[in-house]
């Protein structure tokens, strides 16, 4: 499972970085979104991956990492998702504003001069 998660994070991250470096604003936006997914998965994986374990304490079971998964990264990921989502929405607004003001979807607001 570790291999699979690492590959997924690496793929998302690589695609995100490639798109962020593209000249169109929408590509940059998609790149930022992919990067945020990669980062969220990465935070999640920092809580030591485990199958069939829950983060909520049940009565009668010793509360340690043998029996449960670490709840902290899950809480962090929730916050990070919300913040990343809001920031993406804000970026989208600015993207549209620039499209309207300059008539171009280039990140600099004008096409490159040859």
């Amino acid at each position: 499972m570790e291999t699979l998660i690492s590959l997924a994070i690496g793929l998302l991250c690589g695609a995100g970085v490639y798109l962020v470096l593209r000249p169109r604003t929408f590509q940059v936006l998609m790149g930022l979104s992919l990067l945020s997914y990669a980062v969220n998965l990465f935070i999640f994986s920092m809580g030591s991956l485990s199958i069939d374990k829950e983060p909520i304490v049940r009565p009668g079971v010793t509360p340690d990492l043998q029996n449960y998964t670490d709840p902290m990264p899950q809480a962090l990921v929730l916050t990070a998702i919300v913040i990343g989502f809001a920031m993406t929405a804000l970026f989208l607004v600015v993207l549209l504003a620039q499209r309207g003001l300059t008539g171009s979807d280039h990140v600099d607001g004008e096409e490159e001069r040859a």
């Binding site: 990465f42 935070i43 600015v94 504003a97 003001l101 300059t102 607001g109």
Partner: protein, 551 residues
């Protein structure tokens, strides 16, 4: 004192929420509420500073547990001398920017007042947070408000600069999260004090991962502190922002500097064993490169707004390089310089607009250098751009003329030049001299002489002061002397007052120089002894609920 610690966060939050509920109209009511809140915020910050400074112990730290959970698990807000200093600075700069904005800028777009308060909340929260994740959250609050404030007033230049600013800061935020996650993966904790305490216990096999996490986190913070080569976003963004917003942004880069100073002195002191002074050379040389970049940028700028932006980069470089030495004397001088440079840059950003108005240019954003600009002298005044600012009544926003306005502007410009270039008799000079004299007296066991990096900083400090002086006086000559047919500028008192207050604060820093320098030295001494902060935070206990009362 305990409830006072959380007040710098709650007050702007409550004010912002209240103003948001008032809707988009009723600007006068909101202006009054905002002003009152800013004054109260400054009073709270000063009260905190006096309490902290008045306490008996060397490293007095106030701790507040918002959720009332025991320490390494719950959220912690902590205030020490450094935090109190930053709170006062942000409240002071905020008040001055707001007063300036009340003259006309708060009419230029929607939701200026709530955003302004949320920006202050993010700033104060970042200074108060004592765990990494809340530091991240408050960074995001601060940045989200700054994205919107940067766009305040609208226009193509702002949107273009804002797009770059948002994209780069989002990327930096993701790096921040990766760094925090890696540190959590190694340490199993997010509380700064807990991490610093457990750091020597990290096994050698995990230390590389910890260092990698710390370095990634540092990249994120340094991008916000405008370290070269992560600072190319700064000059276009700050130069495009409206004057009061740019003045408020003068403290934004200092948040990055603050976070680096806090985390680095806490986690990697000289006593940290295998991790001692991790990354010190990177800070010093990176800071020196930033200092050089900012200095060259100041020299190359034709527009006053860009010149002020590069002066922010210069001060960031100075601070980062000085922090990297890890010596109390140099850090103390650097903190004095931080206070002076923040106030000076803020005043200069406000002056930019007033000075441009002297030339009868109702420029709304000072245009970026387009490469086709003329040499500094013998320039024709450019035509007023078609999009000059109009207020609600569609009249050009020009206030009542003050006869002495030109004299005021000239004097204020000269004073802020002295502050930024670090010339006597103003506060920049004291900070620089404190750093220079500490550089000449290296401390520590292995101090046979002054290291090459010490000489490099010594030379750069003096050289950058000289270049800043040349660049600013060149602009001053161009603005005040080489312009033909100067009509008396039209300024409002509420626009002059904040500039005057900021410069008066710089003068006060000099007049009360011994007391201020003593405070800064105490701050730096406490930073060199991280155990003080760690013990104070770890010793905090939740409040016991009253019998029968709700928890």
């Amino acid at each position: 004192m305990t409830p006072l610690i959380v007040a710098p966060i709650l007050l702007p939050l409550a004010t912002g929420a209240l103003m948001l509920s008032l809707g988009d109209r009723r600007r006068t009511v909101k202006a009054v509420i905002n002003l009152l809140s800013c004054v109260a915020g400054l009073a709270i910050a000063v009260a905190l500073l006096l309490r902290i400074d008045g306490a008996e112990s060397a490293g007095s730290v106030g701790v507040y547990l918002p959720g009332n959970w025991p320490v390494p698990f719950g959220i912690v807000f902590a205030v020490d001398r450094l935090t109190a200093l930053m709170l006062v600075l942000s409240a002071g700069v905020g008040l001055a920017s707001l007063m300036f904005a009340l003259a006309r800028w708060h009419h230029a777009g929607v939701h200026f007042h709530p955003l302004f308060q949320l920006q202050l909340m993010g700033l104060n929260g970042a200074f108060l947070a004592a765990d990494l994740f809340n530091l991240f959250v408050f960074f995001e609050v601060m940045l989200a408000a700054s994205y919107a404030l940067l766009l305040h007033g609208g226009g193509g230049a702002r949107v273009r600069a804002g797009l770059h600013y948002i994209a780069i800061n989002l990327l930096a935020s993701y790096l921040f999260l990766i760094g925090v996650a890696m540190i959590y993966g190694v340490m199993g904790s997010l509380s700064m004090a807990d991490i610093a305490q457990k750091l020597p216990l990290v096994p050698a096999a995990d230390r590389g991962l910890l260092h990698a996490g710390a370095a990634i986190l540092a990249i994120a913070l340094l991008a916000k502190a405008a370290l070269w080569p992560l600072n190319f976003w700064l000059a276009p963004a700050y130069a495009a922002a409206s004057a009061p917003v740019a003045a408020l942004f003068a403290i934004l880069t200092k948040v990055g500097v603050y976070a680096v100073l806090r985390l680095w002195t806490l986690c990697f002191p000289a006593s940290a064993g295998a991790s001692a002074l991790f990354g010190a050379d990177a800070l010093v040389w990176g800071g020196l490169a930033t200092l050089g970049f900012g200095t060259i940028g100041m020299m190359a700028s034709q527009q006053l707004g860009r010149l002020a932006s590069f002066s922010v980069i210069t001060s960031s470089g100075t601070l980062l390089a000085a922090i990297g030495f890890g010596q109390a004397g140099i850090t103390g001088g650097a903190l004095f310089y931080l206070a002076s440079a923040t106030l000076g840059a803020s005043a200069l950003f406000l002056l930019v607009e007033l000075v441009e108005r002297v030339r009868q240019v109702e420029v709304d954003p000072p245009l970026a250098d387009d490469g086709s600009d003329h040499l500094p002298f013998f320039v024709e005044s450019p035509e007023p751009p078609p999009g000059a600012n109009l207020d609600d009544d569609q009249e050009v926003l020009i206030g009542r003329a003050i006869p002495a306005a030109l004299a005021f502007l000239g004097l204020a410009f000269m004073l802020s030049t002295l502050v930024i270039a670090g010339l006597p008799p103003l506060s920049g000079f004291v900070g620089k001299v404190a750093m220079l004299s500490a550089l000449l007296e290296p401390q520590g066991p292995a101090a046979p002489g002054i290291a090459p990096k010490g000489w490099a900083l010594f030379a750069m400090l003096i050289g950058s002061g000289l270049v800043a002086m040349i660049a600013l006086s060149r602009v001053g000559i161009r603005q005040f002397w080489a312009t033909h047919d100067l009509a008396p500028p039209r300024l409002r008192i509420i626009e002059c007052l904040p500039v005057g207050l900021l410069l008066a604060a710089c003068v006060l820093l000099v007049v009360r120089g011994d007391a201020v320098l003593r405070y800064m030295s105490a701050t730096a001494e406490a930073l060199q002894r991280p155990a003080l902060y760690i013990d104070a935070v770890m010793a905090a206990r939740p409040v016991r609920a009253a019998p029968g009362g709700p928890r």
